[in-house]
Assembly symmetry: C2
Homo-oligomer: 303 residues x 2
Amino acid sequence: VVLARAGLELVGAVDLDSERVGQRIATLVGGDSDSPVVVNSNFVETLENSGAEVVLLSTTSSFSEIRPLLSIALQASACVVSTCEELSFPWDRPGAQELDAEAIAAGRAILGTGVNPGFVMDYLPAVLTLPCTAIRSVKISRVVDLKRRRPALQRKAGVGLSHTAFLEAASRGAIGHIGLDCSARLLAMALGMEDAPLPEVHLQPLIDEGGVVFGFEQQVDVRTTVATIEMVLTMSMALEGEECDRIVIDGDPPVTVEIEGGLFGDTATAGMVVNSIPTILRAPGGLKTMLDLPPIGYWSELP
Amino acid sequence: VVLARAGLELVGAVDLDSERVGQRIATLVGGDSDSPVVVNSNFVETLENSGAEVVLLSTTSSFSEIRPLLSIALQASACVVSTCEELSFPWDRPGAQELDAEAIAAGRAILGTGVNPGFVMDYLPAVLTLPCTAIRSVKISRVVDLKRRRPALQRKAGVGLSHTAFLEAASRGAIGHIGLDCSARLLAMALGMEDAPLPEVHLQPLIDEGGVVFGFEQQVDVRTTVATIEMVLTMSMALEGEECDRIVIDGDPPVTVEIEGGLFGDTATAGMVVNSIPTILRAPGGLKTMLDLPPIGYWSELP
């Protein structure tokens, strides 16, 4: 997407996969790019040599794991847009305040975003409450057909595990969707539900007749004096019916929105990240969430 | 809505209707408010006496007509949120640059918003393009059941006129929906379609067997090298089927969104205006559009 977008220049690429290191990006992604960029395994070196203004960082879901990489980017005077799920609402994690201070001092902004968390279960529902004079509840459901998605996502969903192995992996946090709690926190914050308790996430495997996991259902509820938030995420290899995103706001006026056929996550996440670049470049330094920045949409050429 | 919202205090009310002037707002709106505010017919006097920080201005659709009132508000150091349709994208109108300079000098922000223009055919579609890595077209249709709406809106739609009278009123710009061109300009701007030509709006009456107008269909197309925008607004007293808002983005990924039953405009416009207050209070001085401000949603208590 970066190679194809007017106004952006790819100046470096980092990967730890030894099969990729040393190869030209243009070769790896196919297409007709003549980019001379070669994959490097050294993040610090790549940042220093490239003079990158923005780093697009897609490595881990964990805030504590991505934390040192963010400091390295700031030291190289680069902004960061990352798909790290826990970065989408970082304020409950240890070290978030210090990272914010580092980013302010560096005058560079950091944003965690993606399709989920980052858009379909938090940012979009928040925007959809804008016409309401009152709200009582926001219910969001996302149904994902795992057959259409990356094998890595199927593994993270626990596909193929036994019930016992699923529960064991779930107890270690090694399985299921990461970031549903971040989505709930983002949306609660958007609605001024400052008194909201930390959301509890419930994960249930979907199990076939042979006792094998083919997906999961994950749920989070937030209840405050302002309103109720309910989110349900279903990921399945054996979907009955279509993929779908549905947002139901019980408010005045009521707002019921359906994204027909669902929003395809792999493409949408790339769109979210690249489309965030102009806004993150203009933003004042600091740790930002999707709620801090002017509304963004697709752009065809860097303004 | 202002009376009911925590953190807001109604400090004044202005109307030219002699039946309202001198009456208590609490009486006029019903409900259980004990607000002592009485309707005044003098805008300048009310601003001076009330010390208002924000003016909610719903008087006219015309930028040139609302222009002097905006200057008066700025002179009284008040921000303005207005439902004036032409203010939602003011940059094509004479005097917009001067008004911007006045607002910057006053350190106060001015925003034109509402459900349409302001949300359903511009802001929301812009937000929905955010996950796209490419777009080819955005098609938006809004279908409004005039039977459910204010008599003033029915009159503005030309309901009850003959075909000839409709065309005559339309040629004077006295009829039809105002602001479809503003929505097209806002969305084109959001997508970086800076080279977009000024949109042409086409208005067609809906006529029954007796030759009487019962609504209209209004259309605007914008075609640029980036993408195509198509908007169709139908307002009818004899709707077949349900009210509906539909946004179809031909992009990667495709995004097809339906607001089931449509977004009820009268309530939604009030929500848009009141929910914009915190953002407009925090904004730097100047003439703003929905694209300039951080994303906003419903809030229950002034932050």
